[in-house]
């Protein structure tokens, strides 16, 4: 064999070096296509979109599913609904019959084929089945759901629901699942969900991550981001440090002013403060003394200084609450009784009610630090008026069980819901939602003064009349002081500024920023 001469060897080596430099250069300039997201959760829960209710699970499923319609990405306003799987729809004059024309190019992930009307019918029936769905209550007015063509679905209602489209966005029961996949996978579906969205489930590692990959068949085009690692990092400190070190590109933030200020200082970081906010509210059980006296409830309302509470939480992350329905929700009104902060008025009311030396009220409360700190701040404010708030702190699951057994006089709750007044009013202030009833949800105050308005608004076809009914409901609830709203806690996320989501992020129903086919890294 002829050996290479020295000259040839040097030439070959030089060529190899130059080539590797070129490769290195091109690698250095190749854009990132894997997105690492850090979420504040220990692990995945149920990954069935018709069951998942936790923020971490909903945030993940958001990128895997479509609805018949959707809210414009980057927004949470239900007034910004646009086509998704359905390309168009019509409604009868009486608002009872809705006909949706679907796209014919929507493909289920994997080998589950084209999505047609049968799939949509199956999916919506599944969502409305209380044995299979956490959200069946949203479909109470659905009388029938039929496939009236290969790509046409007709929904008939028992009464008009002007917020029907809101029920069909990919949030809760509106997420469309593929019939063949659900039937084939059975109980395994919640471990490997199949949707139609821009990203597909690929892998799950317990306590570590769920990996999604881009859907090459996505009807809006293959996503530019090829892979998402949704990492479960329960420790706030670890999540922030991982973001700082560059191991994570996007993180769920702590709802805290100090977090915002610290993360904003990191170079190359974008912080998003998103709606819908979680309404922090204390419900006063008006069937139990001393809260059965409206003067005592009014005294509680007058004792709370919302401005100071917002400053306590952080002016970037909280908004003072006015009505029992969060601001920004369809149907919200600021025209409600306002109980201005006044220790003198509170004391006078207590004295009238027969408590000149003060009164004691009790609350069972969760040990979750974010909520407990709020309650402790309220305790301090109430003390100034002579209201002694005794807080029994219990672990979170215990808290939820005990408040649903109606064991607490005062219940502090922090929650976001679909941003329509009906959802909030029904769950928190309709008498059907009172604890211990079969239909119980979260009406801890036992409020029943606005049932008629809530029910009438739900089925009112005239939008102006509907808004008036919702406004009246909020005014009555305010006059009765069923609950005292404190502030709205906004959702916080941060990401590297090399990540371009493709739209401005103002909100997201699913509480995670929308990542779509147009999202990409600029470097």
């Amino acid at each position: 064999m002829k050996r290479l001469g020295l000259k040839s060897t040097v030439l070959a080596t030089a060529t190899a070096l130059i080539s590797s430099l070129g490769m290195t250069s091109s690698i250095a300039f190749a854009k990132q296509t894997t997105l690492n997201i850090g979420m504040a959760s220990a692990d995945a829960g149920k990954l069935d979109p018709h069951i998942a209710t936790t923020t971490p699970d909903k945030g993940l499923l958001h990128w895997m599913f479509n609805g018949l319609v959707r809210i414009t990405p980057g927004q949470s306003n239900p007034g910004l609904i646009e086509p998704d799987i359905a390309s168009s729809w019509t409604t009868s004059d009486d608002g009872l019959t809705w006909v949706f024309t679907m796209r014919d190019d929507v493909e289920c992930h994997g080998e589950y084929g084209n999505l047609d009307a049968e799939d949509v019918v199956f999916s919506l029936r599944r969502s409305s089945n209380k044995e299979q769905s956490s959200f069946s209550g949203d479909f109470a007015a659905f009388k029938s759901i039929e496939a009236t063509g290969d790509y046409e679905v007709t929904i008939t209602l028992s009464n008009p629901i002007p917020s029907l489209l809101g029920t069909l966005v990919p949030y809760h029961g509106g997420n469309i699942v593929c019939k063949d996949a659900v039937e084939a996978l059975g109980e395994g579906y919640e471990r490997s969900p199949i949707g139609t969205g821009p990203f597909m489930f690929a892998e799950y590692q317990p306590q570590q991550y769920v990996r999604l990959v881009s859907n090459p068949e996505y009807f809006r085009g293959e996503p530019k981001i090829k892979e998402i690692f949704y990492r479960y990092i329960p420790s706030d400190a670890s999540r922030d440090l991982a973001f700082q070190s560059g191991e994570i590109d996007m993180i769920y933030g702590r709802q805290d002013q100090t977090w915002v200020e610290r993360i904003k200082k990191l170079p190359g970081t974008k912080v998003a403060i998103m709606s819908p906010g979680e309404m922090s509210m204390i419900s006063l059980n008006k069937t139990v003394a001393p809260l059965d006296d409206i003067r005592v409830r009014k005294a509680v309302a007058h004792s709370i200084d919302r401005e100071r509470m917002v400053m306590f939480k952080g002016q970037d992350v909280a908004l003072p609450a006015v009505s029992v329905v969060p601001e920004g929700y369809l149907g919200y009104t600021a025209n409600v009784p306002k109980y201005e902060f006044s220790v003198e008025k509170a004391k006078a009311l207590l004295s009238d009610a027969g408590y000149p030396n003060g009164v004691t009220i009790k609350a069972i409360h969760t040990s979750l630090p974010g909520m407990l700190s709020t309650m402790e701040a309220l305790q301090s404010l109430l003390r100034d008026s002579g209201i002694n708030l005794e807080i029994e702190v219990v672990e979170h699951a215990t808290f939820h069980e005990q408040i649903r057994k109606d064991m607490s006089q005062v219940t502090h709750y922090s929650a976001a819901r679909f941003p329509v007044a009906d959802t909030y009013l029904t769950q928190f202030f309709h008498s059907n939602s009172i604890p211990l009833k079969p239909t119980a949800v979260t009406n801890f105050s036992h409020c029943d003064v606005a049932d008629a308005e809530i029910e009438a608004a739900r089925t009112e076809p005239d939008p102006d009349k509907q808004l008036k009914l919702w406004a009246t409901a909020q005014q009555k609830i305010g006059e009765e002081v069923c609950a005292v709203p404190i502030y709205q806690n906004l959702q916080l996320w941060a990401w590297k500024d090399t990540l371009n989501l493709g739209f401005e992020v103002k909100g997201s129903l699913n509480l995670s920023p929308a990542i779509t086919e147009i999202s990409h890294f600029t470097e």
Partner: protein
């Protein structure tokens, strides 16, 4: 010796049954409804009741107990109430990570703790002894999550030598060692602090023995006395406490697992407790009980290796 081992394993079965029975009933007495945790706070009472029925939680407790125990007898530990995934597969997925971390911490702890304990004993009541005892006290007093965060700041942020997320998923040995380093150092230093104190006490006791005085009188070098005559006798109490601590370490690694984002049994059990995942908790108890039994058995067998006078029959 095989008789001794078989007898111990026999006792282990009885221990397992007792532990499982206690855990089974205690978790069900705890307040908190798994169905409510799974379905979330927007679910109606009807949905919650239906799920309870589907999970079999509406049956009498004694029926649930016998159902569970008969499953354990044939190796069926059930499925997680929250995730729907088989308990045994969830446990086996994270068990290697826990064992890896625990034994790395043990090795580090022993390699650092034993020499330092011996040195402290030899240097009794000198500045070296005081400093080592102070360091040991600091190590024992520092909460694991505080030292973990400090290690991350120092060696993952300011000196970016190691990753923040120690996923334990590296495919090469180098990558796995890189992931394991900081969590193992965190737990290892705590263990070293503990072993230092025990080794110091044990060595001091041995140094006061007559045979050590005799060896000194015969002119044997100090190094030879320590290594050949004292060290082995020091190891019996050290092995005892290491064995005891190992069982605790497996369970108490949860804070380290959380801060370094490692999978592990500690995180699994804490998560199952918060979510009221009864089947996962029960399955975890089987594993923990077996691990503690095996560790105790290995500890006992190690005595025989150290001290040839100890025989098992």
């Amino acid at each position: 010796m095989s008789g001794f081992v078989l007898k111990r394993l026999g006792f282990a079965v009885i221990t397992l049954i007792a532990v499982l029975t206690i855990v089974f009933f205690i978790v069900r007495i705890l307040p908190g409804d798994p169905a409510m945790v799974i379905l979330g706070d927007q679910a109606s009472q009807q949905s919650i009741d239906l799920l309870r029925k589907r999970l079999g939680l509406d049956r009498p407790m004694i029926v649930q107990y016998f159902d569970f125990m008969s499953g354990v007898a044939i190796g069926d530990w059930g499925v997680s109430m929250v995730s729907g995934r088989p308990v045994i597969s969830e446990v086996l997925k994270v068990l290697p990570a826990t064992l890896e971390l625990t034994f790395a911490a043990l090795i580090l702890g022993a390699v650092i703790g034993v020499p330092l304990g011996v040195w402290a004993a030899i240097s009794r009541n000198t500045i070296v002894d005081y400093l080592l005892r102070l360091a040991s006290l600091l190590g024992l007093s520092s909460p694991a999550f505080v030292s973990a965060v400090l290690l991350l700041f120092a060696f993952a942020i300011y000196l970016p030598w190691f990753p923040v997320i120690s996923s334990g998923r590296g495919t090469s040995l180098g990558a796995r060692m890189n992931d394991l380093a900081l969590p193992a150092i965190n737990l290892g230093l705590i263990m070293a602090a503990y072993i230092t104190r025990v080794a110091r006490s044990a060595m001091l006791e041995v140094l006061g023995q007559d045979y050590v005085r005799t060896a000194k009188a015969k002119g044997i070098s100090f190094f030879a006395i320590i290594v050949r005559h004292c060290l082995r006798n020091t190891m019996i109490p050290v092995v005892t406490v290491v064995g005891l601590y190992l069982g605790i370490l497996i369970g108490n690694s949860v804070l380290t697992e959380i801060v370094f984002n490692r999978p592990g049994l500690g995180r699994l059990i804490v998560g199952a407790l918060f979510q009221r995942d009864y089947t996962m908790l029960q399955g975890m108890m089987v594993i923990y009980t077996l691990l503690v039994v095996v560790v105790n058995l290995l500890t006992d067998l190690t005595y025989g290796l150290i001290d040839p006078r100890i025989k098992y029959s």
